[in-house]
Every structure is written in C-alpha cells, then in structure tokens.
C-alpha cells in the first residue's frame, strides 16, 4: 500500500484503497483505514478534515506540506512568495511507501482518537496534542494560486473539523 505514490492516487475511501490492486491512496482513505482499525479494537476514532483557515488567510487554496525553502519574496501582500521561484519544494516528510509525497494540498484528513490526540496515518506520525502541534509538524506555508506565505508557528492557520 502507499500514499500518493507516483503523483496520482485515486482511492479516497477505505473501500477504494482496499480494492485498488496497488493499494495506492489518498489521506482520506488512510484516515478511514486507521479509524476502521481502531473501531475493530473498540477504540474511539474520528476522521478529521483539515483546511486552511480562510478567515486568517483570505483566498487560501491550500497549504504547503514540509519541506519548503522560503527565500526572498518577489511580491507583496498576504502571499508575497512566488511558488517555484521564491519558495522551493524540497524532499520533505516521507509518507506511506512514498519518500516524498506532493508538496501541497487543498485539504487533508487525519484521525482524532477519543476526541483528543491527532494521528496522521498518511505519514505514520502522531499522536499530537493540541491540533497546532500537528500543524507545526506538518506544514510550512499557505498558498493562493502561484503565491504563498510561510506558516506562523505561533498562530494556528489550519482548521480541524470535527
């Protein structure tokens, strides 16, 4: 099995990833798989959706997953860094059978156990408490189209629901 292996992975549910011949799936599939495993053992687990906080980051289309190297911004405003020019994607956190998953996502799914700790099965990491600990460990920035800004470790910039 794998996570975004080869750049494109279409399964996004536990049923789809188990049916896929190569078991190559997305975060939603991995989150449902871990939740299902937890339920088998009688443990409480909930699939949690992560989005950019669009109140704090107007127009945000997604977030940059570690690791990105921010250089000198060439633009202005809330997102002054031009992707692939001012800020470059580097080899980041390895995922399931994938040493370098995609560097940015519109959203992401993780698992919350017993209403508290966050586990991220796509990357095999956790637990994290509070949610901002996961955010700080996972992302480097927020982007809107080809423009980006670095994540502020002192401020929670992602929403976790529920």
């Amino acid at each position: 099995m794998g996570y975004w292996r080869g750049g494109t992975a279409t399964p996004y549910s536990v049923e789809m990833i188990l049916r896929a011949p190569d078991g190559n799936g997305q975060c939603g599939a991995w989150a449902e798989l871990l939740s299902a495993c937890a339920h088998v053992h009688g443990l409480g687990a909930t699939k949690v959706r992560i989005d950019p906080d669009r109140v704090r980051n107007p127009g945000a289309q997604g977030f940059l997953v570690k690791k990105w190297d921010f250089g000198t911004p060439s633009g202005t405003g809330h997102y002054p860094y031009l992707l692939d020019h001012d800020v470059l994607d580097e080899t980041g956190i390895p995922g399931q059978d994938n040493d370098n998953p995609p560097g940015g996502f519109k959203d992401h799914f993780v698992v919350r156990q017993n209403g508290g700790q966050i586990y991220d099965p796509s990357y095999g990491v956790g637990p994290y408490t509070p949610d901002s600990a996961h955010e700080n460990a996972a992302i480097d920035g927020i982007y809107d189209g080809p423009w980006a800004r670095p994540q502020d470790p002192g401020v929670q910039e992602l929403t976790y629901s529920p």
């Binding site: 975004w4 750049g7 494109t8 279409t10 996004y12 549910s13 049923e15 188990l18 049916r19 896929a20 011949p21 997305q26 975060c27 939603g28 989150a31 959706r49 289309q61 997604g62 992707l83 692939d84 994607d89 995609p102 560097g103 940015g104 996502f105 519109k106 959203d107 992401h108 799914f109 982007y143 189209g145 080809p146 529920p162």
Partner: protein, 364 residues
C-alpha cells in the same frame, strides 16, 4: 523543461471511416508527467477541443481550440488559464457551447483528500481579442442540498463536475460527490445544480446513487446516466457497474428511467441523441459472472464496445452493435460526438498514445 511550439494540425487521412484526426495539441514536455484530460464538444458547424497540459512543475493550463471539420481548418489553440495543483492534472474536463455562443468549461481535481472543481464561462467575444485574455475560473468546493436551510454548512465537501447542460438559457452542472454529511452513510451520489457559485458552493439536488454521470437533453427532457454502486462481493478489485438512468423535466425532480439490461456492466461510457434516438456507447462486460466467480483474482471481464439504442415504444434498450477486438482495454475512455459534428454519423473519439485523436464509428 522544454517548451514546444503550440500548434494544431487537423487532417483527415481518409474520408471514409476510420477517420484519423491529427491534433498536435499544445504540449510542454516535463518528463514523465501524466497527460491531462481532454474533451470535445460540438459548436456551430464544427467542434471545439479543450485539453489540459502541463504548464510547469505544479501547474496546468487549459488549452482551447476550434476544429472546423467542414473546411478541415484547425485554428491555433488558446491558453485560457493556468491553475495550481501539486497532485497532478485534473481527472476530467468538460466544455459546452451555450446558446448565446459563450463557452462554459469545468474541470475536476483531486487536490487533496476531496474533489474540487473549477468553472468558468468564456465570452464568445473574448476569442476575437489578441491575445485572448486569461480567464479566472470559479473554485467549487461544496454542494449544498436544496432541502437544507441556507444557514447550514454544505453537507457535501467533495465536488466533481462532470458535465455542463443548459435549460431555459441557464447553464447547469452535473457531477458526482462522495460522502453526505459526517453522520450519514458514506456513498457516491450524482447531482445537478444551477451554475451559480456562492462562497465556492453550489446548491443543487441529488439525482441518484452512483458515479460517472453523463447527461443528454432531448425534447425538453434531461436524461442522466449513472454508473451504479458496485456490490461488495469480495476484497478483489472489480470492474464495471450497471447503468442507472434518471429523467427530469425541470432538473429538480428526477425519476428512474428504463436502463440497459442488468447483464451488461459498464466501464466508461458516453451517450448522445442520434437519428435513431437515445444512444449509449460503452465499454461493457457482456458476461458478468456471479459473485463467487468474480471472487477469483484471475477474473477478467469479457469486454465489448457496445452501442445501445432506446426503443421508446417498448421502453427498452436494444444492443445494435457489440465490437470485440484486442484494442479494447478496461481503462479505455469512451467519448462520442453527436452525428451533426462529423458527416452525419455518431463518432467515437479515441486518443492515441502519441496524443493524436482518432474518430471512427463505434460499430466498426
């Protein structure tokens, strides 16, 4: 990255079928990047093509080109917009020429854990400008069901637009979504919504359960064909699904419509209206096994490219052709264009590995 010259070369190598259309669509070579999706739609006196091509390491461009099949003149392609995606090209793109002459275009991405789409209407006059101005498509992330109050959050946060239709001079979107609310059973649904986007969200109605919806309009009715959910018979991969049809007069109330025989299970398919009536062309398993047989990992579908025509009098679908040959594969895309587009005949459009498109009768 090596940027090639953008050009389109349309040639009919044979006036008789099969016809080979050579479309050297815009291309930016970026190594092993997966090619983007494409679609063809009828326009006044010809066709238009939209294709998604790499524009950079994490960006993709919509390339639009008019194809005049009457004069065999292919116009240069136009880059309409460039969109960011770290997860590869969109899964699908579709276009439709609206009654007033504008072009409506929509795509569907998997940019994270859920589907997201873009939608835009390009004014017909935009193509007269030099250069053609870049468009800024609307992002569509959510679908609110009309049964909910406006104060509720969207019940569906997974939006994959698959087709654009038009009724009463207004464009509508037909698509599919996964998951209906956090407490509801997870399922795939097909839906229809006016192309009015408020806060990245559509408001529409569910047509039925299933995936890969295709729509066709005839005599005031809209017919949507959906690939039905597959019964879970094992943990082995299964291929194909039965087709379920739904009809509506107002795009709000959808009623079941007679479908093809259940002993046909389809992979990809398409439909249109021909002089013979409603027509479905699809890659089908013509001998689907029972669950026990399908449980075998060695199971392979008995593939045929079938053409079905609806007999309105008997309210049943008749298989008028079933082509079996070695060129068929379970992953084959099926796209047809209506008979008005080329020589008065329903044509199947196929894309060759080298990027060229082949148009031929699905029956041959």
């Amino acid at each position: 990255m090596h940027r090639k010259t953008w050009q389109i070369d349309l040639r009919f190598l044979l006036r008789r079928f099969p016809i080979l259309i050579t479309l050297s669509l815009p291309c930016v070579a970026t190594g092993q990047q997966k090619p983007g999706p494409w679609s063809i739609a009828r326009s006044d006196g010809g066709m238009a093509a939209i294709a998604v091509q790499p524009a950079g390491s994490n960006s993709w461009s919509w390339q639009f080109a008019m194809l005049d099949v009457t004069t065999l003149v292919a116009h240069p392609s136009v880059a309409l917009c460039t969109l960011q995606s770290f997860t590869g090209p969109p899964e699908a793109i579709t276009l439709k020429r609206l009654q007033r002459g504008d072009w409506a275009i929509a795509d569907s991405y998997l940019p994270g854990g859920t589907h997201s789409s873009h939608y835009v209407v390009v004014d017909k006059d935009a193509f007269a400008a030099h250069p053609v101005p870049q468009t800024a498509p609307y992002r569509v992330d959510g679908l609110r069901l009309v049964t909910q109050t406006q104060h509720e959050q969207p019940a569906i946060r997974d939006v994959s637009i698959r087709q654009i239709i038009e009724a009463g001079g207004e464009p509508y979107l037909v698509g599919e979504s996964y998951g209906v609310g956090p407490d509801a059973p997870t399922r795939h649904v097909a839906w229809c919504a006016p192309a009015r986007i408020v806060n990245d969200t559509l408001t529409g109605v569910i047509i039925g359960d299933g995936q890969n919806p295709h729509a066709v309009q005839t005599e005031g009715h809209t017919l949507v064909v959906i690939q039905a959910p597959r019964a879970r018979v094992s943990d082995h991969p299964v291929w194909g699904g039965q087709l379920r049809l739904y009809a509506s007069d107002d795009l709000e109330q959808w009623k079941p419509f007679p479908g093809p025989p259940d002993d046909l299970e389809f992979g990809d398919f398409d439909l249109c209206v021909t002089r013979d009536g409603l027509t479905i062309v699809g890659l089908a398993d013509t001998n689907p096994p029972d669950g026990r047989t399908r449980d075998s990992a060695r199971y392979e579908p008995a593939l045929a490219l079938v053409t079905l025509v609806y007999d309105a009098g008997r309210q049943r679908w008749n298989t008028v052709a079933a082509r079996r040959d070695k060129s068929l594969s379970p992953e084959m895309e099926v796209k047809v264009i209506p008979p008005e587009a080329i020589d008065g005949r329903l044509m199947l459009i196929e894309r060759e590995p080298d990027g060229r498109f082949r148009a031929r009768s699905p029956m041959q």
